[in-house]
């Protein structure tokens, strides 16, 4: 109980729970869309999803400042690639929050004559760019880990064993692929934080890809990916060891 209270007292903790619920509703609505007996339930789920989304927009009103502060911190990192990727990601998130705040003001009626569709597109673009930057950083960290693991003597012994176990593989290309995959999996297994962050960013990427029309999937895929990324977000918040730093 104490841990639950501590988790929900952070505003980020509550926001992630609401996000998970929102995408779970979206997924359930998609799965039940053709079920004629459950129309009542689908209507309730739609209402719950709209309410959660509206509430979350209100709670996000102060987050631009958070992102700008995070960008200021990441500008001081020593590694150039990390510095670039993270600062760009944070600045794009700040722009996304500004667009989101404008959309909130429009939905509440404070601002009337703005082009809602254009602002939704802009916010999706900023979100997409920030996710791409985060993924670039993830790939960079994974490559660094792979080079580090490849040099490790203990790992080399494991790889020799692995490669000698399967003698029927084709000679030219596949041993390299096999070795590469083995190296990748070993690196990710030893650093679960990177694996979780990469998976979260990949899942999150489907949401703006669908909204911008670059890769149109359906509402079910979007709901499922959103739910997975929210659950990973909750896990990394509850267990700070699993959070990728910086």
């Amino acid at each position: 109980m104490d841990a639950v209270v501590k988790f929900t007292s952070q505003s980020q903790g509550r926001d992630r729970i609401f996000r998970a619920t929102q995408y779970a509703c979206a997924l359930s609505i998609y799965l039940l869309r053709n079920d004629s007996e459950r129309k009542n339930l689908v209507a309730k789920l739609k209402s719950l999803e709209t309410n959660m989304s509206a509430g979350r927009k209100l709670f996000r009103l102060g987050n631009t400042v958070n992102s700008i502060e995070a960008a200021k911190r990441t500008m001081q990192l020593s590694d150039r690639v990390l510095c670039l990727c993270l600062t760009a990601a944070n600045m794009n998130r700040a722009l996304y929050f500004i667009c989101d705040n404008v959309l909130w003001a429009r939905s509440v009626g404070l601002i009337r004559d703005i082009d809602k569709e254009r602002w939704i597109l802009n916010s999706s673009r900023c979100y997409f760019l920030s996710l791409v930057m985060s993924l670039t950083r993830d790939i960079y960290v994974v490559l660094q880990l792979m080079t580090q693991t490849a040099r490790d003597k203990h790992f080399r012994q494991k790889m020799e064993l692995q490669l000698n176990e399967s003698p029927e593989v084709a000679e030219a290309v596949v041993p390299h692929l096999d070795a590469f995959l083995f190296l990748l999996l070993e690196s990710l297994k030893s650093h679960p934080a990177v694996a979780l962050d990469t998976l979260k960013n990949i899942c999150d990427l489907f949401i703006p890809l669908d909204r911008l029309g670059i890769y149109k999937s359906n509402a079910g895929v979007v709901g499922c990916c959103g739910l997975i990324s929210s659950v990973i977000g909750i896990v990394t918040l509850a267990q700070p060891k699993l959070r990728l730093k910086p």
Binding site: V4, S9, Q10, S11, L48, M52, V108
Partner: protein, 251 residues
């Protein structure tokens, strides 16, 4: 900026800011109505207020658990009056949050056919009981501090010889004596409150807050403007105690 980030990270702080904005909208709506503003502006303000109220209900979804944990902690206090007041106040708050959660489910459509008025009245009753108990605790602490202060004053200055009453005034206490006593008590009260800002803030906050359920339950209707002003004042005081934790009354 750094302090804003830390403040924003607490969900209770966010809820207080939204509460302040909600009651500011109530006050604004009342002022616009009195001033005869356009109906569309009034509608926007009342829609904004409803949106903030519903979102606050969403944000408060887990608070019953926190109130129960606080009640569990309050049972171990040494002072029996404090123990009684605080435990029952926290239990009432837990019940208020539970009713509030049911109201949220009704407003979002999860529970159909909910008698919203009945549940709303219920929740305001629990809120009123909790506030009355908080005020009782404030008055009790104030009395203890006043007694303490009076004793320390009596110990510091030697007692002056009481003036002998003239014969024709022996039946009733004279008015100047009573006024002097009243002035002394008032001075004690002001000194104690001035040297204990947490108690003063808590007393003010609870006094402002109590007008809200009194108005909503119809016990002492004061009108939207007064309710909005009281709600805004108590929210601002609450934000102040969060920004400066030393201003919070403990336990």
């Amino acid at each position: 900026m750094d302090s804003w980030v830390r403040f924003n990270a607490q969900s209770q702080a966010k809820e207080r800011v939204i509460r302040a904005a909600q009651y500011a909208c109530t006050l604004l709506g009342y002022t616009l109505q009195k001033g005869g503003a356009a109906a569309e502006l009034r509608k926007t303000v009342s829609q904004l207020e409803a949106h903030m109220s519903l979102s606050r209900k969403l944000l408060r979804l887990g608070n019953s658990v926190e109130a129960l944990e606080a009640a569990k902690r309050a049972i171990h206090l040494s002072d029996s009056v404090l123990r009684l007041c605080l435990t029952i106040s926290h239990l009432n708050r837990a019940m208020y949050f539970a009713c509030d959660n049911v109201l949220w489910a009704g407003k979002t459509g999860l529970v159909s056919k909910l008698d919203q008025h009945k549940w709303s009245q219920r929740s305001f009753r629990y809120y009123l009981f909790a506030l009355i108990l908080n005020l009782t605790r404030d008055v009790y602490e104030l009395r203890l501090l006043i007694e303490c202060e009076a004793r320390s004053r009596a110990a510091r200055s030697p007692p002056s010889p009481s003036p002998t009453l003239p014969a024709d005034h022996s039946l009733s206490p004279s008015t100047p004596d009573m006024l002097a006593w009243l002035r002394r008590q008032l001075h004690l009260l002001v000194t104690v409150l001035y040297s204990n800002p947490p108690l003063l803030l808590d007393l003010l906050k609870n006094s402002c807050d109590i007008f809200i359920p009194l108005d909503r339950l119809g016990i002492y209707p004061t009108g939207q403007g007064f309710v909005g002003a009281c709600g805004l004042a108590s929210s601002v005081l609450s934000i102040l105690t969060m920004v400066h934790p030393w201003l919070k009354l403990k336990p």
